[in-house]
Symmetry: C2
């Protein structure tokens, strides 16, 4: 069994109003050094396969077909052997 961690981020060219709101929040708390906040999604899942290659293929396909919107989002992932 393998454990995949997927990070989905908005493309740089897409405005991120949620990130802007969080940035204003940090400044309200006095953290003026915080800039360029961008919010993304994090998904973790297990893949019950024998080979890492198969787990990577499934993770990539699920990310691209179901989780990310390829027009607006980029995604990256890591796949590691699950500890149990």
């Amino acid at each position: 069994m393998f454990h995949s961690k997927i990070i989905i981020t908005l493309r740089k060219s897409i405005l991120d109003p949620q990130g802007k709101a969080v940035e204003h929040g940090t400044h309200s708390l006095g953290y003026n050094a915080v800039k360029n906040v961008r919010i993304g999604k994090f998904v973790e899942l297990n893949v019950e396969t024998e080979s890492k290659e198969e787990a990577e293929r499934i993770t990539k396909e699920v990310s691209e077909k179901l989780l990310a919107n390829p027009i607006m989002e980029d995604c990256s992932f890591t796949v590691e052997k699950a500890s149990r």
Copy 2:
């Protein structure tokens, strides 16, 4: 300047209905090997400080005070020198 990446996940003991919905979605697409989907948040931001220690302190405080709900969520982060 430093670049921080923050991952916020629901604690293991908290049910994740959004993750369950995504898991059903993967099975509908035929990916039956996918299990235990959990959805979290990903936040990236820049911190304009001179020292990495200061950037780590600010990232930790912002994560704990503003981004994560410590009752229900865990958070982890990395801080690296920004490339530009």
